[in-house]
């Protein structure tokens, strides 16, 4: 099934803003498309996708659009009296409130827990029109102390994760690294050595550069084999 989907990836038509994807009253505009009379027209650059009656555009670029429940990795940009302002690389800032920290903290103590420049793994608790609120209260969330960070465009995240996590699992197993992919495109890699982490990073960049390709899984396997480290 995964192979099928990958083959289709390679065959997709390019969507150009303003151009007609298909004509017909039976079609409906999905994300990145709009109706113009009888036509469904693209309103974003990307790849055309047909899903039942829906015609949409798969974006290959563009800003991160936060969704509730998303796992994100960000950097503490500032501290206010009741929480931390976190930069997750989105057009808007996100806020981690004091009481979303996993334990009870006094409000004048914030800095000793998370200082400016610290990296954190959080979940989006609530989205607002101009920003989002984060939480750190789930297991596995918290300050990131070790390893390295790499950033990719958030639209490529599904490709890096793969169907049911198959792609990221393939990379994790071959490189023996822990890889946590933030939906905002920030990825945390932690391996037994810098070489292992760079190996994983290389594989991730490989996926991102070839994200339109069909048969990507095979290509990634080859890449991992060719670049294996002792």
């Amino acid at each position: 099934m995964d192979e099928e989907k990958e083959k289709n990836e390679g065959k997709r038509q390019v969507a150009i803003p303003g151009e007609i994807i298909k004509t017909g009253k039976e079609y409906l505009p999905g994300d990145g498309a709009r109706r113009d009379g009888e036509n469904i027209v693209a309103c974003r650059f990307g790849l055309q996708d047909e899903y039942g009656r829906f015609l949409r555009v798969i974006p290959l670029s563009g800003p991160y659009i936060p969704r509730k429940g998303n796992l994100v990795i960000g950097k503490v940009a500032d501290i206010s009296f009741n929480g931390w302002i976190i930069d997750v690389g989105s057009p808007y800032t996100s806020f981690l409130m004091l009481n979303e920290y996993p334990k009870y903290i006094e409000s004048d103590d914030l800095e000793s827990y998370l200082a400016i420049g610290d990296l954190v793994l959080c979940k989006i608790h609530r989205t607002k029109r101009k920003g989002m609120d984060l939480t750190m209260k789930e297991r596995g969330l918290g300050k990131i102390e070790d390893g390295m960070i790499t950033t990719i465009n958030s639209n490529k995240v599904p490709r890096v994760i793969g169907k049911e996590g198959s792609m990221v699992k393939l990379i994790k197993d071959s490189t023996q690294c822990d890889i946590t992919v933030g939906q905002n495109g920030v990825i945390w890699i932690k391996g037994s050595s810098v070489e292992h982490e760079l190996y994983a990073r290389g594989a991730i960049n490989f996926v991102v550069e070839r994200s339109y390709l069909s048969g990507l899984t095979e290509e990634v396997k080859k890449y991992l084999e060719q670049n294996k480290i002792e």
């Binding site: 150009i16 974003r44 659009i65 057009p91 070839r210 339109y212």
Partner: protein
């Protein structure tokens, strides 16, 4: 004697040889290069991102901000580095030519910055700039209802021509040279920018606009070609 022969041998309604390329500046969220013959423009898009200073934010939609400048050595006589009054005016024109097709409703309080540089100039620089900017915005994944395509139409004495060069801009015979720069939505008959300098009868101006509309079709093909080539390249 009517103007019939162009110095470079082009037909009256023929644009110069055009090239377009996407993704020329890796750091940018979107970037593109566009050329009309010897006139080359590169554009870089950064955004949407939070707009600073705060008082410039629009709480209802994102804001487009453009800068246009020329490399000091892009022109025959050196242009002092830094923005001039001309480049400031053109920056505004470019903003107005792109805004109508951008949909920034989803991004209130943000700014989308478009920076354009002319690296080599032989007239029609703002047109090349707009064509490059439209491509860069598309590559950046900005929601756009259409692309825009820009072209210069000249009237040399009484003859209308497509895509004016510097030599043609300086034409002095008869009624002299009139330079008309226009931008149209690619798939709709909507004008997003129109500027004129010279001496032209009203009916001829209408004709010039129609000539511009026809000329942008071919230019638009070049823009689309670049976007498609970008995807094809990455498929290899």
């Amino acid at each position: 004697m009517a103007y019939t022969k162009r110095p470079d041998g082009r037909k009256l309604d023929e644009a110069r040889n055009m090239t377009a390329e996407i993704g020329v500046i890796p750091n940018a969220d979107g970037s593109a290069k566009f050329s009309f013959g010897d006139t080359i423009a590169i554009a870089a898009v950064y955004g949407p991102k939070t707009m600073h200073p705060q008082h410039k934010q629009n709480p209802q939609r994102g804001v487009l901000r453009c800068t246009y400048d020329m490399l000091s050595f892009s022109v025959t006589e050196r242009k002092r580095p830094g923005p001039s009054r001309r480049s400031q005016e053109i920056s505004k024109i470019i903003e107005w030519s792109l805004s109508p097709v951008l949909d920034l409703e989803e991004f209130p309080n943000t700014v989308v910055d478009v920076h354009i540089m002319i690296t080599q100039a032989n007239a029609s620089t703002r047109c090349a700039a707009i064509n490059a900017a439209a491509l860069a915005l598309a590559q950046a994944g900005i929601p756009m209802k259409d692309l825009v395509t820009s072209v210069s139409i000249g009237k040399l004495d009484k003859t209308l021509v497509v895509d004016v060069t510097k030599e043609e801009e300086d034409y002095k015979e008869g009624e002299g040279a009139t330079d008309i720069a226009m931008t149209l939505m690619s798939n709709n008959d909507e004008i997003t920018s129109l500027q004129l300098d010279g001496k032209i009868p009203p009916q001829a101006l209408k004709e010039a606009i129609r000539l511009g509309r026809a000329a942008t079709k071919k230019i638009h093909e070049v823009q689309v070609g670049a976007l498609k080539a970008y995807i094809e390249e990455n498929k290899k």
